[in-house]
């Protein structure tokens, strides 16, 4: 897997590649062409990122983003033209105020898009997640799914706003948003196997975040190392 560290540029092209990405700029446009897999796993005190991803025609993108945040104010925009497939999986832990505006723009025909956001709020964490799917008029054969899940492990308020702006009648769009605390049945099950509440919570939390990503053993280990070092 190639590693790309972006600390100066504001525009990069990725073509037919599997990359691990590190972003250290606040404004970045990524142009994806062909088959692209991006893994981004990190812990950041604060992040103010304006990330735009242009998926070129006949391309596919799988983006797994896992971040532990203290504070975050991000704007993520995905533009798809024709014949594109995009899966953007974003898992994060919010230890402070974290807000994301996620815009998915379908500009052409025959696209498939899946945006999955899973957030865990801990300590003073608060998640404000707004996803907007915007489809242009007269486009066709598109499908889009937006899913936002927030697992609340503190007493802070979290907000999910899923928006669908649909201007075409030949498109299938779905959205789902849930904010919940730990499932009591999960807790009872793990306690009944002898796990303490603390350990069970940690397993459920990690499982919640990891199951949102489409990833492999190596990446899971990287994430677990990161979580272990929190």
């Amino acid at each position: 897997m190639n590693k790309i560290i972006v600390d100066k540029e504001n525009n990069i092209d990725i073509k037919d590649n599997v990359v691990t990405l590190e972003i250290w700029v606040s404004d970045l446009t990524i142009n994806c062409e062909g088959k692209v897999l991006i893994q981004e796993i990190c812990a950041k005190e604060t992040e103010n990122l304006n990330l735009t991803i242009n998926v070129l025609p006949n391309s596919s993108l799988l983006y797994n983003r896992f971040v532990v945040h203290n504070e975050m104010h991000n704007k993520l925009t995905i533009n798809q033209d024709n014949n594109c497939s995009v899966r953007f999986n974003y898992s994060f832990i919010a230890n402070g105020k974290c807000d994301i505006k996620f815009n998915s723009n379908l500009l052409g025909d025959n696209n498939s898009t899946e945006i999955k956001v899973a957030a865990v709020t801990e300590n003073n964490g608060k998640a404000i997640i707004e996803t907007t799917a915007d489809t242009k008029p007269r486009i066709k054969e598109n499908s889009l799914i937006e899913s936002i899940k927030v697992l609340v492990l503190n007493n802070e308020e979290s907000i999910c706003i899923p928006n669908l702006l649909v201007a075409s009648n030949e498109i299938e769009v779905n959205h789902a948003a849930t904010i919940s605390s730990i499932d009591k049945d999960y807790m009872f099950y793990l306690n009944s196997k002898g796990l303490s509440i603390l350990t069970a919570t940690s397993l459920i939390k990690n499982g919640f975040l990891l199951s949102n990503l489409a990833t492999n053993e190596e990446v899971i280990k990287q994430i677990k190392d990161l979580l272990g070092g929190e």
Binding site: K184, L190, S192, L195, T199, I204, G207, L209, S211
Partner: protein, 254 residues
């Protein structure tokens, strides 16, 4: 020995069990039968202190400890484990991960990964399940039969001394039922564990051969007997026994 003394259990403000009394010695198998909604699963969950069920009277003693003073975690570490009729799936948490943590917390020691894997793989082979089960999420994407075998893996790894099997036969075909039942029997022979068995399945009763069979009705055990009682139920249903109990109760009240 597990002792349940005059237990009253309430769920959602409704009394499910009243004056429920039962004693199960180490190594014994007791089957609890009763019509739907009689409260069989309630007693299973009350033993493990499920927060949805409140014990308002009586107590449960295991290994000389009053379970009402313990948490579900403590009760499990005391050796009690349950397989429910539909074990839940937990995405993102693998069997291996959960078992390693559970063993580590029980023993207070670091678990050697090599030793753990070796033992876990041996158990997978014994249960005729793929070793890949270890690295699959708990019960996730598994059929009913696979879930039960997965739970057996947990039993063999965590080595409980008291097993609660709440309709463990549900969702199993006859071959899977035999594998599950024989594995439980083998486990009991090796460890002398006690079993509280909730079932109406004749095959499971035939393999596990309960020492006692109890009939639950009217919120309590109304009749107990040997395994022949299960055969009577199979032939005649609960009605005759319940009618006999009502006559006796009325006579006592008079």
């Amino acid at each position: 020995m597990l002792e349940i003394n005059n237990l009253t259990v309430v769920a959602e403000n409704k009394e499910i069990l009243k004056d429920f009394t039962l004693k199960i010695k180490d190594g014994e198998t007791h089957a609890l039968m009763g019509s739907n909604g009689a409260g069989k699963s309630t007693i299973c969950r009350a033993i493990l202190k499920d927060a949805n069920y409140q014990i308002t009277k009586g107590n449960i003693i295991y290994k000389n400890k009053d379970l009402s003073t313990l948490t579900t975690t403590d009760i499990s570490r005391l050796g009690i484990m349950m397989i429910s009729q539909s074990p839940i799936a937990i995405e993102g948490v693998t069997n291996a991960e959960m078992l390693r943590m559970a063993l580590s917390e029980r023993t207070g020691k670091h678990i050697d990964i090599f030793q753990f894997s070796k033992e876990a793989k041996e158990i997978c082979n014994k249960l005729a399940i793929p070793e890949s089960f270890l690295h699959r999420d708990i019960n996730s994407g598994m059929s009913g039969g696979e879930r039960k075998k997965n739970e057996l893996l947990h039993i063999w790894m965590l080595k409980p001394s008291f097993l609660i099997l709440d309709e463990v036969d549900s969702g199993l075909d006859i071959d899977a039922l035999k594998i599950v039942a024989n594995s439980i029997k083998e486990y009991q022979q090796e460890t002398n564990c006690a079993i509280l068995l909730i079932t109406h399945n004749p095959k499971l009763l035939e393999i596990l051969k309960p020492d006692c069979v109890h009939i639950l009705a009217d919120k309590k055990i109304v009749k107990s007997g040997d395994s022949s009682l299960a055969k009577t139920i199979e032939k005649e249903g609960f009605k005759a026994i319940y009618e006999e109990y009502v006559i006796e109760r009325n006579l006592t009240n008079e």
